[in-house]
């Protein structure tokens, strides 16, 4: 028990404390110039005490403090009913829905591409370079075009966002799974040959199970990328709903506290999705003997 405390809880607590401390110092440093201006203009005498209080309680700070963000998170989740457009949870739900759909599409596409490339040599030389090129294009640049194009052919709302999310999500899955599907050692492959196993039998009995650790690692990267993709897609859709819209309206009106609350929420969303993949991985690993 004490061992666990020393080796697990303590480092986590120290790290969290350090980050909070640096955050507060950063708030002092970044909000400092504005605070000094304001205090000087007020014409009253002021000291360290007034400076710190002001820097930590600005209405529109350059960098809001953790407690300001925490309060904003709490009020934005409780001051309106959950389904209301002004509730942060509503926007998180919108983003989560699009990210999950995008991740699902990305996983399917990523797996199909990887399986195709592993089985057809010509696809590796003809298709893989295009896939790599697709990822060098800044998503921020093509997201508005995708939204416009899909809008023109009658798709709006969820689907364009999921599409852009998929665009970011499939790539790590394809690359990881190609590696994984080729990771079976030569002896295990020879064994399948001596059983005169068919290609699909070799795939299901050997290639896929040995690719699973790679697949789960890729999935973790993929779902986190799907959240980023969705938020990027929400920026050019005009800021109706979603965490991206929240970020956009926050920056329109200089509501930095709102921006930071939305950022924290998107981090929590990504962490949750990655944790879900991790839980699925543990279940599968346990069913597969518990140790790999």
């Amino acid at each position: 028990m004490t061992d666990r405390l020393m080796h697990h809880a303590l480092p986590v607590a120290v790290m969290a404390l350090a980050i909070v401390l640096i955050w507060y110092l950063g708030a002092l440093w970044l909000n400092g110039p504005q605070v000094t201006d304001a205090l000087n203009r007020s014409g009253q005498d002021w000291g360290m005490r007034e400076f710190v209080t002001q820097a930590f309680t600005m209405r529109r700070p350059v960098l809001p403090t953790p407690d300001q963000v925490a309060v904003e998170l709490y009020t934005s989740m409780t001051s309106h009913p959950v389904g209301h457009i002004r509730n942060l949870l509503y926007h998180t739900g919108v983003t989560a829905g699009a990210a999950l759909l995008g991740a699902a599409m990305g996983v399917v596409l990523g797996i199909l591409l990887a399986v195709g490339i592993v089985h057809l040599r010509t696809l590796e030389s003809s298709l893989l370079p295009w896939l790599i090129a697709s990822q060098t294009i800044p998503i921020l640049a093509i997201a508005p075009m995708i939204v416009v194009i899909l809008g023109n052919i009658g798709f709006s709302g969820l689907l364009p966002k999921a599409f852009i999310s998929m665009y970011l999500c499939f790539f790590p899955i394809t690359i990881g799974l190609i590696k994984g599907l080729r990771s079976a050692d030569p002896l295990s492959q020879d064994l399948m040959r001596t059983y005169s196993a068919t290609g699909s039998q070799t795939f299901w009995y050997l290639r896929l199970p040995s690719a699973l650790p790679y697949l789960f690692t890729s999935l973790k990267i993929g779902v986190a990328a799907s959240v980023v993709g969705t938020i990027v897609a929400e920026l050019p859709t005009g800021g109706q709903a979603g965490l991206g819209a929240r970020l956009l309206t926050g920056s329109y009106y200089g509501q930095t506290v709102q921006i930071w609350a939305a950022l924290v929420m998107s981090a929590v969303l990504s962490l949750t999705l990655v944790a879900l993949v991790g839980a699925a991985e543990r279940l599968v690993t346990r069913a597969h003997g518990g140790r790999r």
Partner: protein, 270 residues
């Protein structure tokens, strides 16, 4: 028993190899892995291939298993090409390493070839139980490979090879990585298994004692190019073997001949 020998000679050979040559093309010069190999193996034979590293004993076995393609010469297994024999699943192959699938339990590793062959589930489980009992691993069905010692893992891989009841068993240094005591124990189990099941075995080894203990015939090979130096008949030894026969003069005589053959083929200057 001359009558039995005649009957054996009369039946078609399980493996027949004529003028087999296998050459690898490398960047600077060709490597002669196997050169003019001639060998006939009959039903019920236990053949050991022995020789220093690089003499082509593993390659020869992989040719029989259709895992390597010969450059020239003729090979038949059960009277057909190695490929046709492989497609009919004529042999079970035991590799140097156990090559168990870590995500499958011991039982499901043994049933893997049976699943591929499409046997019904009850039949698969019954066979797995029988084979695991035969190699002394009853009660370990639900364990996973990492929970087993190296010797036990290799026994699972033997059970897996026996499970689909091939008439020919190919074993490539299956006990090479194990300690002496475990190895003796498994040798004893293997020779009993061979007597019980009447299978034809081809066995690759580095160990003279192992080869003499197990075999009806020993093929001594030498490297560069890989070729057969000597074929030693072990019919002076009883078919049923116990550890004690190692002390017998026949055993010593055969072991001596194998050692001489190996020394003749071994050049120590490289």
């Amino acid at each position: 028993m001359p009558g039995q020998d005649d009957a054996r000679e009369a039946s078609p050979p399980i493996v027949d190899i004529r003028h087999l040559t296998l050459t690898y093309q490398t960047a600077d010069k060709p490597v002669y892995a196997l050169s003019d190999i001639n060998l006939t193996i009959h039903k019920g034979d236990f053949i050991s291939l022995i020789g220093p590293s690089g003499c082509g004993k593993t390659t020869l076995m992989r040719v029989i298993a259709d895992l390597e393609q010969p450059t020239s010469g003729d090979v038949t297994v059960n009277g057909m090409t190695p490929e046709a024999a492989r497609l009919q699943r004529a042999y079970g192959y035991v590799f140097q390493a156990p090559a168990l699938y870590p995500w499958r339990s011991v039982e499901r590793n043994v049933t893997l070839p049976l699943e591929i062959m499409g046997l019904p589930k009850e039949e698969r489980l019954a066979r797995a139980r029988r084979q695991l009992e035969l190699v002394g691993l009853a009660g370990f069905e639900k364990k996973f490979p990492w929970q087993l010692s190296g010797g036990m893992q290799q026994r699972v891989s033997i059970a897996r090879a026996l499970g689909f009841e091939p008439q020919l068993l190919l074993m490539d240094e299956p006990f090479g990585a194990l300690d002496e005591i475990t190895r003796d124990h498994l040798n004893l189990q293997l020779t009993r298994l061979w007597l019980q099941t009447r299978k034809t075995c081809i066995f690759v080894t580095h160990s003279i004692a192992e080869a003499v203990f197990l075999s009806t015939r020993i093929i001594v090979m030498s490297p560069r190019p890989g070729r057969i130096l000597d074929i030693i008949d072990c019919s002076d030894l009883p078919r049923e073997r116990s550890i004690d026969i190692r002390e017998s003069p026949e055993f010593q005589r055969i072991a001596h001949r194998v050692r001489e053959g190996l020394m003749q083929g071994h050049s120590y200057d490289d």
